[in-house]
Symmetry: D2
Subunit: 338 residues, 4 copies
């Protein structure tokens, strides 16, 4: 049994993670932290019957675990990660703190200095479909953001084969409200989000943009620009991204679908729909998979790719568990909903 701990167990992603770990056949959950609910149990914070004790992060027994998940806000995570790594514990960090390659890039987008820059070089971007082998050996995995997961998986087969003709991707993303976290705000107030649809961080300013561009550029071997507009949608969970891409005009839809089926054929958590079917949020709801569909945009070389995930599944907790499975040599979908 892998002995694990969860930092930040009462946010939406943290709670989802605890659910998956509780049902995982190869895992024993040793501790879970919550600054707000420390001293209480999980069932004090959520309508459930799980009597898991919640402790303060500083009281977490790092010497009793093989692996920890950090589901803390960016900025707050890096200190904890550093402590865990120094204790020799392998870490899967769900925050943004170790996703970007350099401290400068981090400071540019997150407006704070990185406190553990020495760990950046060894951190692996935790998208198994791109970095499976490095994840297996990693001490620190930076679990991708939900938006980057949906965008990168939607374009990766094009990027790595040099088909992103103009190095440009337009990503129109729609996210369920749980992606905004559990802390109450006017934006997430029921009456403001319900019967509404709100774009935000429009164009090229959302903090997930550099992740997407970094990984797609790595795959493509050249810069990639992602125009990115996220939208808040009145659903609890789910994410659907509509991608607009240009490829060399000799590629037709059937060819592109073949390319994607080849790229992802062996992937347990990415599914490509047959021509004519359209990915919707429902295809990925309450699962840990990514579902893709491809469509012509009506002119040679122009295509629409639709990428659906559950923002708490493949977009957060599910992918974190997938990474853990890889790191500890377990079946990749153990404990998951493929």
């Amino acid at each position: 049994m892998i002995r694990v701990g969860v930092f930040g167990a009462t946010g939406y992603a943290g709670y989802e993670l605890v659910q998956l770990l509780r049902g995982h056949p190869n895992v024993r959950l040793v501790f879970a932290t919550s600054e707000q609910s420390a001293g209480g149990r999980l069932c004090d914070a959520y309508p459930c019957f799980d009597s898991l004790d919640l402790v303060r992060a500083e009281d977490a027994p790092l010497d009793e675990v093989d692996c920890v998940f950090c589901s803390l806000p960016h900025g707050a995570s890096m200190g904890t990660v550093q402590r865990a790594r120094r204790a020799g514990v392998r870490v899967i960090d769900l925050s943004a703190d170790f996703r970007l390659a350099t401290p400068d890039l981090y400071r540019e987008w997150y407006r704070v200095s990185h406190e553990a820059p020495e760990l950046l070089a060894g951190a692996v971007y935790g998208l198994p479909e791109l970095h499976r082998d490095r994840i297996r050996a990693a001490g620190l995995v930076a679990n991708p953001g939900c938006y980057p997961t949906s965008v990168i998986l939607g374009c990766y087969p094009l990027a790595r084969t040099g088909l992103l003709a103009d190095g440009h991707v337009i990503a129109d993303a729609k996210s369920g409200v749980s992606g905004a976290g559990r802390s109450p705000s006017l934006t997430t107030h029921f009456c403001e989000a319900n019967e509404n649809l709100s774009p935000y961080s429009v164009g090229h300013v959302h903090r997930h943009v550099p992740e997407m561009e970094q990984e797609l550029a790595r795959a493509a071997g050249r810069p990639v620009h992602v125009t990115f507009v996220p939208h808040l949608v009145p659903v609890n969970r789910g994410m659907l991204t509509t991608l607009y891409v240009c490829v060399p005009p000799e590629h037709d839809l059937a060819g592109l679908i073949s390319l994607y089926r080849e790229a992802y054929g062996a992937e347990p958590l990415v599914r490509v729909l047959p021509e004519g079917k359209v990915a919707t949020m429902r295809w990925a709801e309450q699962t840990d998979r990514c579902v893709l569909s491809l469509h012509s945009a009506g002119r040679p070389g122009e295509f629409v790719i639709i990428s659906a995930i559950d923002n708490l599944g493949k977009g957060a907790a599910g992918q974190a568990v997938q990474n853990m499975n890889l790191m500890f040599g377990l079946p990749e979908t153990a404990g998951l909903r493929p």
Copy 2:
């Protein structure tokens, strides 16, 4: 033109009130206050194009208005009401501060001492269907709560005719989330309220209970006990209350419907559906009316009455304007959605 002011213009009820007053043919809106958004305009606080200036309550020019609406939290309202009354301004108070007959009852239910007990005797409970004449002459009208409006209107024809056989009403109420106000909280977080239905303040503990019992007892001339369970429902606005009552067994459904049609036949803002039709939230949505339907419960003398309002319409702002219309001799539905 009646010159009016609104205290608390950026809560949901306050904003609805401003909308109604902006469209009212006989009203000029002189000022609107908001502690949070003072110095800004209404369009800074809401997605609208209304450039109405927002001022602090203490800067409101009471000498320039004939009437003010107080849409402030209970406890916070009474001081403002007192100030307005001393300035000779007529007041419609949407808070609970002047609804209960005595300071003791207020302290018992709201856990604070009343700061303006001298005004209680003159305050009129602002349910026009019960107190129309007194409202016309009132200096201070206590606008009813949304739950009491739906419950009282649903039972009043029985109460005043002595038909509430056992002096007991069971009221199972369902409210849209806007009834909980605009301040963010975990309860009103989209992901908590959505795909959920939550009873709260179950049994006989909600602060609206004494209002209901007071008014029904006044009408019946004897004590009335209201068993009351409010539920939060994932809709923005709307309120539906299912009432369970016993009347003497010689009354049948047709007779009861006649009784209600008689009681409310002249009322511009209460509608009784014909036998066989069922009131739903939709019947009252975006209106200022109350819609009632009556049904047999399967045994002689046992009936179900369904009462639908829009919690922001007849349940708050609409009723407040109806009261203003009465106080200033305007047509009762001027500016309203009957």
Copy 3:
């Protein structure tokens, strides 16, 4: 491995059932029928990747299964049940066809003659908390309706101990839209159900009433009248029933909670919340349990009981699997979400 078949696999309850059976460790799903989608696969009817073949009911290989589930409309189910029983197959029927004790009662409420009256005497009402031993031995189990499950479990500890003082229960029930089935209708049109809440079949006319009264009367040893008002709520799945009951006045809330904890202490799929906690739909969402909370109604002997289930879980498919587990000597919660 128990070999099972599902009649009616593409309705919401049928699909949920297939999901549970697919994940059940002791079950092999041999066939699934759908008149509409026969010849296709499950993934043609739902956004999923399950390639389960769908056949016509008449082509179902009854000789290859130990047990079948019938998730067909009432009236349509009894013929199939009869055929299966004649083939010696044990049956769990999710329709209403075998829930009422006599053909006359069935005709009275469902307006059709019963086609298999000879099976009624041997059919067991499939509420394990009431009839566990008889279910174990049954050839035909009539799986309860969702509303009856929530109402009966909410009152059973009172009924069987003679505490339902006046033999009367008021049940105000709220159901998610999936309870209305997957066939499109104006009632279930998104725009009609969304931002709305609709009572229907008000009072004592819903077809689930006789089930409730029959089972509560059996437990109480005397007639029980259930005043019943179901409401359609804009959520996909979930059911919450607010029950109003009278017991002899010497019983207080703590005593009642003790009584319930005793009654259900050994039950794997019924949970009684501690005093002060309130059951909401969320407590039972995506589970196969029933969650109860008890509350004072403010006067001696008057109480409110809140009963939450997932209408597709404990209210349909989950309970059906629980029944199968009992019938075949498996652990009662095998394959379920307790």
Copy 4:
């Protein structure tokens, strides 16, 4: 008073139209048709108190009206329009039947032959911001589709000034479910649309595409290609389109916003938000306006334009009334919610 009639009064757009016309100060509603509900009244088809009689289309007294609105399905509308025009009545047609310039184009996209091709030349595309003068004089106005309204208004200032650098627009549109009509279907079933987001008619195949391209090409004086992906969103009403455009790189955001404010400065029903504000569905909900916001996409010449309307307001009934106001010399926003 303008005497008007409505064909198809019980669909969502037709009902909205009736609401607007009932409140319009210069209109008398002479008749309303509904094939399904003929012989009944509006309050039989909707939860309202409007006793408007519904007649069959063939019984509509065309000789008693100055103007008719046709809110019928495409294909079904053209015959009625033809009849009305022959009777000398001015027509506003909300269907697609008279929006495309030629019968060939119509047949290509709608797969039926046009039955009234003689009327096409005189039909005016009813987008007042583009064709105000021609609408004033028109006998037949083809009211635009909801998607085209949001797309065209979002791009028109660029098209007409030659700034659509590559003649290409990407339009990612999100529509409330009322846009799909009131006829029940699996797509509009509550449980299918709720907690979901579904792209459909992806790329360049939706029937609204030729309208958009026709009008933008007319404005630009050159062909325009619109890549178009509509999405069904779980809200009752509202439409938000995210547009991705390229303009010559010397244009910056401030310049573009100025251009839009100039283009629409005199428009009563188009609003351009100041830099930094983002249009959401809420900005246009229950109104007849279009709200636009502009944003940089992070590289010179690349911009995102967000266009919000209420699909039943500016996207259908509101625009139809705006057209009527123009045709009859009334104030352009009479009876509307600007």
